[in-house]
């Protein structure tokens, strides 16, 4: 197991390095002059040239890349061109919100998927199964941002249960939670619909296996057979998809944060791109990639925790 972790961690670092190279290369072929962004169009050519030297932009690309990576290793992501403050600070301010949203979204996705998927599988071919399948088809078809707008109209504008957008700050915990409810639902509905189908088909496959027959022959109740015997064995494909969906949820927050005016990484990415704030965009893209890679790492560890056969092979 420890060897497995070591090898996977090594892979993790290499993957992130590769991603950083791609991100850096892409960002540097994009048009746009940071000096122009910072000084504005009224600045003289001399002033812009001087600033470029000061920012180190006249160095060759490989040198700048190494400086950037070396800075990140020290926790220094550079200084934002448009905000004029350290990028690390910008990220640290906004990361908790995006992470909370991504985690609550994934959690709700799992709850929806396991409940709906298992229910559907246990009612295979009957009305309940059909109802869940139609609902999930609907869930897959609806774009998240549109669902978000509908949720705002119903629950914020008409019923006034939840705020339509904005974020009061973590100093108001109850208010913060309330403002995360609708974004979480908007994020999880689509992903939950997809995952419910995966759960259903995985559970149906497991239900055909011999040990489920053994459990039934032992006189165990259908609920017990479903939750204790079918579910754990159906989880492996579900977790695989959750890991892949986590990437979708994280990128989904970009859209959702903009719909709900939430000051998270998503909005920051949006603003930085609009401002040609290349150094901030670079850091954010690397950040999101790191989150996704880490999620997949967590999935691999989860496999080993679920399945003792896998653990034995990895030891």
């Amino acid at each position: 197991m420890s060897f497995f972790l070591l090898r996977r961690t090594g892979g993790l670092v290499l993957t992130l390095l590769a991603i950083s190279i791609v991100v850096f290369a892409v960002m540097n072929v994009l048009p746009g002059d940071p000096a122009l962004t910072i000084l504005g169009i009224d600045a003289t050519d001399d002033a812009r040239a001087a600033l470029r030297v000061q920012l180190g932009l006249d160095d060759p690309a490989p040198v700048r890349y190494v400086q950037w990576i070396a800075g990140i290793a020290r926790g220094d992501f550079g200084t934002s061109y448009s905000f004029g403050v350290p990028v690390a600070g910008l990220i640290a301010e906004r990361l908790p919100l995006t992470l909370s949203l991504a985690l609550s979204g994934t959690l709700l996705t799992l709850v929806i998927a396991l409940a709906a998927g298992l229910y559907s599988a246990s009612r295979h071919g009957r009305t309940g199964d059909w109802a869940v399948m139609i609902l999930s088809q609907l869930g897959i078809a609806i774009p998240a941002f549109w669902l978000a707008i509908l949720l705002v109209l119903l629950f914020a504008v008409n019923l006034r249960w939840f705020p339509p957008g904005g974020f009061p700050g973590w100093s108001d915990p109850l208010g913060s939670l309330r403002s995360l409810v609708l974004p979480t639902i908007a994020l999880a509905a689509v992903q939950g619909a997809v995952l419910a189908r995966v759960t259903r088909s995985s559970a149906l496959e497991v239900m055909r296996l011999d040990f489920v027959r053994t459990a039934r022959a032992t006189g165990l109740s259908p609920a017990r057979v479903l939750w204790r015997h079918v579910l754990p064995n159906a989880l492996v494909p579900v977790i695989t998809i959750v890991g892949m969906q986590f990437a979708g949820v994280v990128t989904g927050t970009i859209v959702i944060e903009n719909v709900f005016y939430l000051p998270g990484l998503g909005r920051l990415i949006f603003q930085s791109i609009a401002n040609r704030d290349i150094i901030t965009v670079q850091a954010l893209v690397l950040m999101v990639a790191a989150v996704v890679v880490l999620a997949n790492f967590a999935v691999d560890v989860a496999y080993a925790l679920i399945d003792p056969r896998l653990k034995a092979r990895l030891a």
Binding site: D210, T214, R216, P222, R228, H229, N233, R309
Partner: protein
């Protein structure tokens, strides 16, 4: 304890089991033989109330005096494991791969008998001991993939015995095991049946297993019980043409090692194949493949007649038929 008469399992018009009748007393050891599709597994599933949802059951099936043909799933659940228990063919596939085998065996003890964790653990250790698992303490924490084939089957037997059933049905219990282990498992089943005065039904296509373990025998073909009686007698003097064919097709050592210089004798086979359920002849299911077929066999089904060794459902035994020829 088990009283079955005219029990049928149908898928639409196709009979997977047709008018089966049998009685099982405590301590009986019954073998059921026949090829795949003969209905022997369907009989076992019917006795557990586990026929597929698309099938319909009719006839009478009494377990401890209670009529179960039209019982609900909840009523069946109350009998499974406690009255009738079953073990299956592939011990590896039949065990939940993600669970320690100790947890698996403790589960019915805790849910059905309401034992505490410690009581269930102690009981599981006793059961492991009874079925001859070495180092029971250590086996509790083992996962199925860590055990040998024979050990897995012993775990499944322990699981089946957990709630002290009156009838244990073993569906091809030794098919996935090598010959020596198969023999030991067979002997274990016989010993358990004797020690616990528990009825044992072994479903197998392996005549050796049945000969070794059972006293009574049911021979099945195409969903019908075609011959029944004492195992030993039927195996030495079969009557029904199907039973004869089945016995003749049994591999024997003298066939494998021919006398030097002679041509190796071919293993006799029954001509043709067992038809699909929907294509079975309406009368005797064996008609069309039977070497001694009479004109009426295809359309009319024979009742059971006495043979020298038991009963067989065959027109050849009908006195009226005999006087004609």
């Amino acid at each position: 304890m088990l009283d079955v008469s005219n029990l049928s399992v149908r898928f639409g018009d196709a009979y997977a089991l047709r008018d089966a009748s049998l009685t099982v007393h405590p301590g009986d050891r019954i073998g059921v033989v026949g090829e795949s599709g003969s209905g022997k597994s369907m009989l076992a599933q019917a006795l557990m109330g586990m026929v597929p949802e698309s099938a319909s059951m009719s006839g009478i099936l009494k377990i401890d005096g209670t009529e179960m043909t039209r019982a609900t799933e909840a009523q069946w659940r109350a009998l499974r494991a406690r009255r009738v228990a079953m073990i299956f063919q592939e011990p590896l596939a039949a065990l939940n791969p993600l669970r320690r085998v100790g947890t698996t065996v403790m589960e019915p003890l805790r849910t059905h008998l309401g034992l505490s964790r410690t009581q269930a653990r102690a009981r599981t250790l006793d059961l492991f001991e009874e079925v001859g698992l070495p180092d029971p303490e250590q086996r509790l924490a083992a996962y199925p993939h860590e055990l040998s084939g024979g050990q897995r089957q012993r775990v499944l037997i322990a699981l089946a015995l957990a709630c002290d059933p009156k009838l244990l049905i073993a569906d091809e219990p030794t098919t996935a095991l090598d010959a020596e282990v198969a023999q030991r498992i067979t002997d274990l089943l016989v010993r358990l049946s004797r020690d616990r005065a528990m009825a044992l039904m072994i479903i197998s296509h392996d005549l050796q297993v049945v000969a070794r373990a059972t006293r009574q025998l049911l021979v099945m073909y195409g969903g019908d019980i075609v011959e029944r009686g004492e195992t030993r007698k039927i195996l030495s003097a079969p009557f029904h043409p199907y039973t004869r064919g089945l016995l003749a097709a049994r591999p024997r050592p003298q066939l494998a090692r021919p006398v030097p210089g002679t041509k190796r004798p071919r293993l006799p086979t029954i001509p043709g194949h067992i038809p699909a359920l929907v294509d079975l002849p309406a009368g005797c299911r064996f008609s069309g493949r039977c070497p001694a077929e009479l004109s009426r066999c295809r359309t009319t089904r024979s009742t059971e007649f006495r043979t020298g060794t038991g009963l067989a459902a065959c027109h050849l035994l009908n006195p009226a038929e005999r006087s004609k020829s």
